[in-house]
């Protein structure tokens, strides 16, 4: 039960129920779609990146489990205002956080730390990283939908 409480912390359930930055984004110049074929979940990430390479705004749409929705919601909070390069570095750190047991979390993890419990649930790592993969594709302006498979 302690693992479950680590995974489904109140803040995660809250972001899962009432996601932040949820919906379309007028004037977005970076868009991408992501699929998790395992569960059929689907997500879209929209971002506005200015000429200096800074993410002015970012939103997401779609439906998914509590973990993927909360992760997407917290991701949008975390990357807003960051440069594309900073966001990509954050993605790497986040990926380490949810997949590796023996790494110390990077300082920029901050609120994302609550998702560390995912690493005890290997089948759910893809839920937590779907939004990030999709954001990464959007920032590279890839047209093809990304997939967790």
């Amino acid at each position: 039960m302690s693992d479950l409480r680590d995974l489904y912390q109140e803040i995660i359930l809250d972001h899962g129920r009432t996601p932040r930055n949820f919906g379309p984004l007028d004037g977005a110049n970076r868009n991408s779609e992501g699929h998790n074929p395992l569960c059929g979940d689907h997500i879209e990430v929209h971002a506005t990146v200015d000429k200096d390479g800074r993410i002015q705004d970012v939103t997401f749409e779609g439906h998914g489990c509590a973990i993927s929705t909360a992760s997407a919601s917290m991701m949008t909070d975390a990357v807003k205002g960051k440069t594309v390069a900073e966001a990509k570095e954050l993605f790497e750190h986040f990926h380490d956080l949810v997949t590796k047991d023996d790494v110390l979390p990077e300082e920029d993890m901050d609120k994302l730390m609550v998702l560390a419990g995912v690493r005890e649930f290997p089948m759910r790592v893809k839920c937590a990283t779907l939004a990030w993969h999709t954001l990464n594709a959007a920032l590279q302006n890839e047209d093809e939908p990304v997939s967790t498979e």
Partner: protein, 420 residues
């Protein structure tokens, strides 16, 4: 092998079915997960294996193993006999007219692909209609889409109602068109619906169409009589029938199989090969190119032997009692929505819980030792029908008891506790 089967063996007195006693035949059921007793409720995805099957596979390798249909030596002869005997056992279990009407494939998916490719490309042409249902597994959709791309057949999809029943009026109307083939499930893996397959087959034949039935979810649970059903093709997988993975069966009427070209070519399926011309072997060898899954076929034969000691009707009655108990218990929870409420259904319950995604439910149940499937069950059109991305599916096999159902209900309450 060319004589009709002796059916007198079915008159042998059956062992009374007792689920608690049968559980002891399945070694994996004794294990724990996360320090808790395991409640395996995912038999519709793949069934657990009785010791008899595990032993048969072990013996196939450790006892009389050699390649079949080739060697003149003792071991090869014994292995060939065991392989052929497995086919005969399965034919008797399903009352096929002859063992040769059963082709061993890798799985049910390969069996559908074989028919779509071999029968489809030879006998179906541009403008012919192939009828499917909205609740087919992807394995009974995609091969027909590939055929559509290859030869230009038209696919007609028969809708389901909100209770998950096939719209038989729409089916009858569709058959007035240029329908040459029907591909239909016997029982939906996503909803549990059991289709009125005898009527569906009769109507297809009345319209001059051939029909393939996906029996994956039916064969493990109810008596299937292939001669009485009269389907042209019937497919199922071995691993859902308490047998090994990597082995499945295509049943086809002999006259149809005889007229069909090979699906794959190579060794063991030819009569003569010269560089000028090759002639092909008779069925079933024609459709079993290369060295087959010998141990898998023998293991599946052992699974059928295991089931044949019981009356399938008793197994079915037990499974339905447990599944219906789980269903009514779930239904009494306000926030649960059941998907699939057909009047005639099998031993599975597909459901959703307001405010919780199927994968979150699956994860929480898993930590309680309960194995269920969460997701679209390879039946995305069904999920689309209900406007959802997936369901939680609890499916029941012969070894499940009310204790498993009770654990499931307690687990669902735990989900509600966590999700508030």
């Amino acid at each position: 092998m060319n004589k009709p089967l002796d059916m007198t063996s079915s008159a042998i007195v059956k062992r009374a079915f007792d689920a608690e006693a049968a559980r002891a035949d399945f070694p994996v059921l004794a294990r724990t997960v996360y320090g808790k007793p395991m409640h395996f409720l995912d038999t519709a995805a793949s069934a657990q294996k009785p010791q008899a099957v595990i032993d048969a596979v072990s013996e196939a390798y450790g006892g009389d193993y050699a390649n079949i249909h080739r060697g003149v030596y003792y071991l090869s002869q014994k292995a060939t006999e065991a392989y052929d005997a497995a086919r005969a056992k399965i034919a008797a279990f399903l009352n096929a007219r002859r063992p040769e009407e059963l082709i061993f494939t890798r799985n049910a998916t390969e069996a559908v692909n074989l028919v779509a490719y071999s029968y489809g490309r030879k006998f179906l042409k541009e403008g012919d209609e192939v009828v499917l249902s909205e609740m087919e597994h992807h394995a009974n959709i995609v091969p027909w889409q590939m055929l559509r791309e290859a030869v230009g057949v038209k696919l007609t999809v028969i809708p389901i109602s909100d209770t998950g029943e096939l719209d038989m009026d729409a089916y009858a109307r569709a058959l007035k068109g240029n329908v040459k083939f029907v591909a239909m499930t016997h029982m939906s893996n996503a909803l549990g619906t059991v289709t009125p397959i005898a009527e569906i087959i009769r109507l297809a034949h009345g319209a001059g169409a051939k029909i393939l039935v996906d029996g994956c979810q039916m064969v493990p649970h109810e008596k299937v009589d292939l001669q009485a059903l009269d389907a042209d093709f019937y497919v199922f997988s071995g691993h859902k029938l308490y047998g090994p993975t990597g082995i499945g069966v295509l049943y086809g009427k002999r006259a149809l199989l005889d007229a069909m070209p090979p699906y794959q070519t190579g060794g063991d399926m030819i009569r003569t090969v010269t560089f000028a011309k090759t002639t092909f072997a008779e069925v079933p060898a024609r459709f079993e190119a290369g060295t087959p899954h010998i141990a898998g076929a023998i293991g599946l034969g052992a699974a059928v032997d295991y089931l044949a000691q019981f009356d399938m009707g008793e197994i079915h009655a037990h499974e339905m009692a447990v599944a219906e108990y789980a269903r009514s218990s779930l239904q009494s929870i306000n926030r649960v929505r059941i998907y699939g409420e057909a009047a005639t259904r099998g031993s599975l319950v597909s459901f959703g819980l307001e405010g919780a995604h199927p994968h979150d439910i699956g994860t929480i149940l898993d930590r309680e030792g309960i194995a269920v499937r969460g997701g679209h069950h390879c039946a995305q059109p069904v999920m689309e029908h209900f406007g959802i991305s997936g369901t939680v599916r609890a499916s029941f096999g012969l070894y499940n008891t009310k204790a498993d159902a009770d654990a499931l209900i307690a687990g669902v309450h735990k989900v509600m506790e966590i999700f508030g």
